[in-house]
Point group: C2
Chain length 415, copies 2
């Protein structure tokens, strides 16, 4: 529990987080079924979610608990040739529930060092099998066919990764404090704070969508890069209206608005402002140069080799799949912490992602007449977010006629 916070106060905040995840995140409807996934360590949060969900009129709440020790022991003891198998039956079952109207909540409690020592090859094989088996099920959320959300829980393993020098208990308390700040649970009225926050995100998203910029220009003296945007790109962020008509927030926390770059139209040099945690290795002081969308040079203080290996894994890996804007004043950014988790680190600063683009970042109207390839969307087996935002970053939107319009100054939105 957080520093300077007694047990009752901690439990009160945990209940607020549960309530927020249902009210603002999933926006669970009266009579709707709910499927939660969570590590067993997060049962205290799941119990609060369950209770609130039933009080809100949930038809049924199921939690499919994840057991990290079972995941670990599979890699440690299973026959190697079984690693290409994944239990499709469970995903097929869940798809059935979503077809019948169930909502989905992911409780994310990371175990950063769970598979340290396991060969990448094994992890990739198991991951690929799982991705194939869950392909249909995943589309219910990735395509927002149902209302869904994601909410964090501090595991001991995660706290230790973020604060390796603190005793376990204190590390957990510290991380909870940051999580409660980042999720606006520390605010007197979190639901109201989120309403305000969503209004801002929605306004900025709509502004950028309306402007139809052809590129974004990032510059701060060292970084000077022009990121071309995909034709028919769509800005995403803030509230999402799912295909079932329910409006929610898919990630708690979320600070970004993002869209799809054109895979051939990025030029210039970028210095990434935050270190990048890649499979247990830190990459820092990373500087990358682009020509016509593709990486032509890489320099890093640490981890250059692993980064180069990663962006060489397929043709799309050295091109961009996402550009995201986050103000420097966001609570996550202010914490100054590397969370070792995309849900947070991606929301800490403006970022570029190497690899796969998101289907949601192309306008439906555009896609009715064009393929994603024609739009300039990138394809890859990887998607790696790298932060370039900082408190002196300027961002201009470039119009079709070449006119530059201020979007961010000093790391903050000016729109």
């Amino acid at each position: 529990m957080p520093v300077n916070m007694n047990a009752a106060e901690f439990e009160n905040r945990l209940s607020k987080l549960a309530g927020l995840s249902l009210k603002v995140g999933v926006n669970l409807q009266q009579g709707q079924e709910l499927i939660v996934t969570a590590p067993i360590e997060a049962s205290a949060l799941v119990h609060r979610i369950t209770r609130i969900a039933y009080r809100q009129g949930a038809k049924f709440v199921t939690c499919l608990y994840e057991d990290p020790e079972m995941i670990h022991d599979r890699f440690a003891y299973a026959d190697d040739k079984t690693l290409d198998y994944a239990p499709e039956w469970i995903y097929r079952g869940m798809s059935g529930a979503f077809e019948n109207g169930a909502a989905r909540l992911y409780v994310v409690g990371p175990y950063p060092d769970l598979l340290s020592g396991v060969s990448t090859d094994k992890i990739v094989r198991a991951h690929t099998a799982m991705a194939n088996a869950s392909e249909v099920e995943t589309r219910f959320t990735s395509e927002s066919r149902i209302n869904w959300s994601t909410v964090p829980f501090v595991t001991d393993s995660w706290a230790k990764a973020v604060f390796p020098d603190l005793p376990a208990e204190e590390a957990s308390q510290q991380l909870w404090r940051h999580i409660f700040d980042a999720t606006r649970i520390s605010c007197p009225d979190p639901v109201h704070a989120w309403a305000e926050h969503n209004r801002l995100l929605d306004t900025r998203r709509n502004f950028l969508q309306h402007r139809k910029f052809v590129a974004l220009h990032f510059y701060d003296g060292r970084t000077d890069i022009r990121v071309g945007l995909a034709d028919g790109h769509r800005w995403v962020g803030g509230t999402v209206v799912a295909a079932n008509g329910v409006e929610g927030i898919c990630n708690i926390p979320t600070e970004e608005i993002f869209t799809c770059p054109h895979k051939d139209r990025t030029n210039g040099r970028v210095f990434f402002s935050k270190p990048l945690a890649l499979a247990g290795t830190l990459v820092d002081n990373l500087c990358v140069e682009f020509r016509d969308g593709t990486v032509v040079s890489v320099k890093a203080g640490k981890g250059q080799e692993i980064f180069e290996k990663l962006i060489s894994c397929d043709a799309g890996a050295r091109r961009l799949g996402e550009v995201g804007l986050v103000p420097n004043s966001s609570p996550i950014s202010r914490s100054g912490i590397l969370f070792y988790n995309a849900l947070f680190d991606e929301n800490a600063a403006s970022h570029l992602a190497f690899g796969q683009s998101y289907a949601a970042c192309l306008a439906t109207e555009f896609l009715s007449a064009n393929t994603p390839e024609e739009a300039g969307a990138n394809q890859s087996s990887i998607h790696i977010d790298c932060m370039l935002g900082n408190d002196s970053m300027s961002v201009d939107g470039i119009s079709g006629t070449g006119r530059a319009e201020p979007v961010m100054r000093g790391g903050e939105f000016v729109i």
Copy 2:
């Protein structure tokens, strides 16, 4: 952990229980998938099961953890009209896995007082919905289409119910000691002890099957009852060969061999030797008289009213659905404890069950030419086991010509 047993010894026994459940119970095959259900409190046993299963070559191990607090909170907070719903999607998913060859292991950790205070009507509605939703899935085990087993785990709630006067820690230790005895884990070589035990059960089962008795006569001076057996009855107990060809033991522990009475052919009086735990109420000193298969009088020291209400709930409830033989020397019987759980109490003494009969207790050949009704099998929505065995009980098998042959004397088998 058990009294006079250090942590290492306890963990060693828990590992032996895990190994026994896979080797002797499920008899998990190389390359076979395994689905476990268990309360989250039992994760220490599940982890051992997982590790051993993978070492034995399991293709994949899934544990669907049950969370008693979520079950409780449904009854406490859900809208009343949602109680007739059950998540069929999860059972449909599991059925898919069984179709594709998965095995099943139930880790049974009871919560006897979880729903105390909830109205019986609510529980029955939820239970009926669950039974309907899981009908297809349940048949994979009830009809032994796959290899499956059941293994106990001591929850704090269970220990408290069995030893209400002991401090929590001590109650748990005591119950574990009895569980390890009852499951033969205390034996130097549990797997060998089970091989011996199964050989005995199989021999007795085969003996009784071969004899084709038309009735069993129980008498000890007070009890004097003749239980007619169904035409084409089949004796069940000991090892089971599932339809997939794998031989295992469905219940750990198991001590009984049992079959199907004829619903119209029981006559006489029975004094039940052990109290009966019914929905939180104890029924003791129960004495019941039968005429032509049906109960004609009931007397009890305590709980007479609830027992009479129960056997009046439908037409089959006042007739017998099972007769089971258990020697007085079985470890469970010797413990002298009421476990408040059928997996144990049913195996503590010879018993008669009121209500529904088991399909497995009629011979397949017989059923190819006759209906279960023609065999004399009983139908009811209840199935309540009542113990009549004691150390002075005699049981005779009665042949078609009326000849009596000793089966048990002084509570022990003589066959």
